[in-house]
Amino acid sequence: MVSSLEKSEINLHNKANFLARQARLASAVFIQYSQAQVDKIVKAMTIAAIESAQLLAQKAYSETRMGVVEDKILKNLVASEFLYNQVKDKPTVGEINILVDENIVEIAEPLGVILALTPVTNPTSTVIFKSIACAKTRNSIIFSPHLMAADSSNLAAKILYDAAIANGAPKGFISWIEKSPRLRRQTEILMTHSDIDLIFATGGTQMVKAAHSSGKPALGVGSGNTPVYIHKSADIKPTVNDIIISKTFDNGTECPSEQTLIIDVEIAPAIIAEFKHLGCYICQDNEIEMLANIVVDSRSRSMNYKLVGQSAVFIANQAGFNVPENTKILLCELKGNIQQHKLIVEKLMPVLGYVTVDNLNNGINRALDVNYAGGTGHTSGIFAKDEQVIKLFTNSINAGRIIVNSPTSIGGLGGMYNNLNTTLSFGCGTGGGNITTDNVGIKNLLNIKRQPQRKNFSVSFKTTKQIYSNPGSLSYLKELAIKNPFIISSHNAMKRGFINQVIEKLPPLVLPTIFAEINNEPDWSCVEKALAKIKQANCDSIIAIGGGSVIDLAKIVRLFYDHPNLNLSEIAISFLDFRHRMCEFPEALTTKLIAIPTTSGTGSEVTPFAVLKDNSKHLKLSLIDETLLPDVAIIDANLTLSLPQNITKDTAFDALTHSLEALVSTFSSDYTDGLALEAMRLIIEALPKVLIEPTNIIYRHKLHNAATLAGMAIGNASVGLNHAMAHSFGAVFDIPHGLANSVFLLTTLAYNSQIPNKFMAQSNYPQWIADLKYVRAFEYLGLYPELKISVDYTNESFETRQKLILALRQKIYDFARVCNQPLSIEELGIAFADYEKHIPSLVQATFMDMSLRTNPGYPFMKDIYNLYIDAYPKRKRP
C-alpha cells in the first residue's frame, strides 16, 4: 500500500520530471537559434514587462505587503528596460568576442536548464530580470518562487513566457512551480534533478545555502550589510539626499541599501540635522532600545522578517513609540562597541544605524566592523571628495560593489547611477559564499568557449653588430673612438703577450686600465674586483681578450658597471620560455664592449650568454639576454697560433657540439642551420690540419671562424641535452667544458636521432625533424661518397635516415679518433665506481639545466640516467 504522503512525494517527482523535461527539450532546441531570433524574443519580452510593470508591482505588494508599489514599478522597469538597454547590442550567440592581441576567439554556449529561486522582496522584478537574461543567453529557466510571493512571481513568468512564445521562443523554455504547500519540497527535488544544469539562487540565506549544497553549479547571492562612510570632505546636502532616496527605495528591501552610516565627527551634527530637516526621525536612546528589540530577532540575532519592507511609521509603532506621519527613516545612533550592538545587522527596512568617528582610520575600521557583521562581499558606500580617502576605503573594504557618492541600493542595481550591469542578483564572492562578485548578468549565464590560435612566433636573429674577421684584424682597434678602455684578460693571456698587442694597436693617447686577474672560471668576487677597478678608472669601454671565461666576465662587468643596482640573483634565474623570461635586463648598455677571442670554441664574442661560477653553491650561474651581446667582435686567428694542442682540441669540440646541437634545437631556423652546418664542415676540415701544423694560419683562421659561426647559431638557437650533461658532469669532475662535451657527443647524437619517448613541447616547432636535420648534416659534410648511395633526404624512409645518421656518427667517431679526443668517461681515466655514485645528482642537475629546454626530445630522468651509463665505457665505432 502506498501512503498518501508517498503518493504526494511521487506526484511531486512526476511534476518535477515534467518541468525538467520540457525545460531540457527547450534548451536543446534553443541551441539552434540565431542572434537575430534571440534578440527579437528579448525585445518582445521587454515590452511585455514594461507594459505589465504596474500590474505586477501591485500584485507583488498585495501578495507580500512589503515595500512600496511605486518603487516596485520602478524596479520592474529597471529589470526590463534598463537591462534591455544594456544587453540589446551584446552578442550572445556564436562568436561573441575576438581578442585580437591574444589571438583568441570567444564563442558563447548556453548553460542549459536553470533552476531560478526568487525572493519575496523582489518577486516580479527578479523574474523579469532572469527571464530576459535567460532568453538572451538561450537558456531554459524553471522558477521556484518564494511561497509568500508565488502568485505574483508566476504571473510575471507567464506574461514574459507568452510574449516570448508569440515571437518564436521554444516551447517550455520558461516554466514555474505552482504555489502549493509542497513548493519548497518540489524545489528541493528539482535542485538535485539530473536535468538541471545550474541553480540561480536569489533569496533568503537558507535557500541559497540549499542551492550551494545541492551539488549543482550554483550562482548564489550573499546577505548584505552595507556600511556607508561619510568623510568630512563630502557634500552634506547631496549626501543626505542620496541616502534618503536609497534607503527609502521600496522601504529598504533592496539588499545593497545602506545599513549603518559611519560619519566623521566634524560633519556629523550637520548631517544629522539635514536628515531631520528632510523628514527623518532621530531616535532617542530609549527608542533605539525599543526598536532593537523588535527589529532584531533575539534568538537568531538577525532582522525580523515581519518588518522587512514596512514603513518607518509602522515600525516605530510596533516598537512602541510614535513618530511624525510620513517619517522617511528611523536613524539610530549605535553607541558603545558597535560590534556588540544589536542593530549592527542588516535591516531591510527604513531603519538606519549611524556612528561618529574622529579620524579616517577609525572611519574605515568601523565600516569594516559593519562589513564583517554579515555583509562581506556585498555592497559598501562612501561619500567623499578626497580621492585618496576613496582609494583607501576601496582597498580596505570587502565588497563586490563600492558605490561612490551615490545611493547604494539603486546604485547597486546598476544602469541608473553608474555603468554596473543591471541586476537583481548581487554576487558576493567568497565573502558571501559565492563564486563571483559580479552584478550577475548575461555573462554569468554563458559557457564561454575559447578558441586560441596557435602562436606563430617571428624568428629573430641577433648577434654582435660588428664582426672583423681575418688574421690581423686586431688592427681595427686603431679605429675605435675610445679614450680610456678597461682591458680584461687572464694571467695566461698576459703571458702570451696579448695585452701588449692590444695596447700597441690602440689609438694614440688612449690610456687603458688593465685587469688580468682572471683564473679559469671566474666567480662573483672576481666581478667585484673588476668593478672596483673600472669604477676607479672611470673607463668608457671594455676590451675583453681571452677565452670564453674572459669574455663572459667582461659581459657581466659591463652590465653591473652600467647598472650598479642590478641584483645578480634576480637576473640569473632558470626559465622555461626563452621568449618571455622572467629576468628583466636593462634595455641598453652605454659602455662599449669589444670582444677578442683567443680560443676557437665558445663563440662568446657573438652570444648573449655569460656564465659565472657560484662557489657557494658549487654550480654555474647562467645569464642570458641580448643586452649581453658585445658591440664588436674581432676574430683574429693570429691570436690562436700559440694555443696549446689540448685547448685547441677541447675548444674545437665545444664548437662542434654547438653546431650539432644548434642544428637540431627546437629554436633552430634556416638562419641558424646554415651557420651550424658550415661551422661543422670547417671544424672537421681544419682541426686535424691545425693539430698537425699548429701555426698554419689558414686552418687556424677556418677554425676560428667556425667557432664564431657556431656561436651565432647557439646564440639564437641555443644548445641541448649534450650541454646539459656536460655542464653537470664538468662541474662535479672539474673537466674542461669542451672535453666534457666531447665525451657525451656520440651518446646524445644517437639519442636525439631516435623518435623521442617524449617530444619537446614548443609551439614554434611543428614537428619532430631532428633525424632529418642530422641527415642534412650528413649531406652537407659530403659523406655520400663514403656511403656510395644517393638519397633524397626529404623522401627517404626513417630506416634509410637512420643509416645515414649512423654514417654521421661514424664520421664524428673517426674524426675524434684522428684528433685523439676522448669520447667517453672511461677514456678520461675516471673510475666507474666514483662516476656511478654521482650519477643520481648528475641526472638532477642535467634535468634542471636550461640547455635542455631546446633539445628536440624531452628526456625522462631515467633516460638521462641511461645516457650517463651509456657514456661511460670506452667508445667503439658505432
Binding site: 531540457r24 527539450l25 536543446a28 532546441v29 541551441i31 539552434q32 521554444p170 516551447k171 536535468d195
Partner: protein
C-alpha cells in the same frame, strides 16, 4: 526482420510536426524505416517529441527506425535533449546524460 531499411523517408527542413508519410507507414507496414535528415536543419520541441513518439511506437511493433545524414546542429539538439530512444537510434547504449 532484417536490418535493411525497406523505406527511406526524407525529413523536411524544419521538423516541427508529424510527417504524414511516416505516420501512415507505421500504421500500414511492419518493415524498417530510414529517416533521412539531409534536408533537416531545424527541429522544434514538438518535432523532438514526435520523433520520440514514433520511435516508441515502432519499437512496440518491432519496426526498426534508423537515421541518416544528421547534421551536427541537429545531432547536438539530440545530445542535449537526452531522449533515450533517440540517442539509441544514434548509436548510444547508455549514459545519456553527460558525465564527468
Amino acid at each position: 526482420m532484417t536490418q535493411t531499411p525497406e523505406k527511406v523517408i526524407s525529413l523536411p527542413s524544419i521538423l516541427d510536426k508529424p510527417v504524414n508519410d511516416i505516420e501512415k507507414y507505421l500504421v500500414n507496414n511492419d518493415c524498417n524505416l530510414l529517416l533521412d535528415f539531409i534536408n533537416c536543419n531545424f527541429i522544434t520541441v514538438d518535432g523532438i517529441e514526435w520523433l520520440e513518439e514514433i520511435l516508441v511506437r515502432a519499437n512496440s511493433k518491432s519496426i526498426k527506425i534508423m537515421f541518416a545524414n544528421i547534421q551536427p546542429d541537429i545531432y547536438k539538439v539530440f545530445k542535449i535533449s537526452r531522449i533515450e530512444v533517440i540517442l539509441k537510434v544514434c548509436g548510444a547504449t547508455q549514459n545519456f546524460a553527460p558525465f564527468c
